[in-house]
């Protein structure tokens, strides 16, 4: 039972990643799509960690999930000029 735990958790995260990617391509508002893309990146980072690559996981968490999401919302707020959806 104990050795079945990590494959089960990996499968859970992979399914969640597919769900988040589905939300990202399906939804109309661009802010929700960007949030879902950030979630895909975050779950990918946890999967890198489960496959025993902590350095790749840290880079993916810092750049893919943190910096890209922050930069995208920053630029989106500047470009639209206060017009929200």
């Amino acid at each position: 039972m104990n050795e079945m735990l990590m494959p089960a958790v990996t499968l859970l995260f992979a399914v969640a990643m597919i769900g988040a990617a589905f939300v990202a391509i399906q939804v109309k508002q661009i802010s929700i799509a960007m949030l879902a893309a950030g979630l895909v990146s975050l779950l990918a980072s946890v999967l890198f960690l489960f496959f025993a690559a902590p350095d790749v996981a840290m880079t993916e968490a810092a750049i893919g999930s943190g910096l890209t999401t922050f930069l995208f919302f920053f630029v989106l707020g500047r470009v639209r000029g206060g017009q929200r959806d």
Partner: protein
């Protein structure tokens, strides 16, 4: 015995993960999705700690530290964008 308790904790956290994911997929407004995103990040920190316990490698906890910082920055940026204050 401790391994069984770790499995029970992982199952409970997995159910919480699935419920938050359901709110993320369904959520009517953007704010619902942001709070689901926050909960998913914190549950991911839990899974990282549990995997560090299973694999007995303390270096995994550094990624949990990065997560605890990044979720804060992301949610602050999203809240400022949704207020329209960038």
């Amino acid at each position: 015995m401790v391994e069984t308790m770790i499995v029970i904790a992982a199952v409970l956290a997995g159910i919480a993960f699935l419920l938050a994911l359901a709110r993320f997929i369904k959520g009517p407004s953007t704010f619902d999705r942001v709070i689901a995103f926050d909960v998913l990040t914190v549950v991911s920190i839990t899974f990282i700690v549990l995997s560090a316990l299973i694999e007995e490698r303390g270096i995994y906890l550094d990624i949990a530290l990065v997560y605890a910082l990044l979720s804060f920055l992301g949610v602050i940026a999203i809240a400022r964008y949704l207020e329209g204050r960038f």
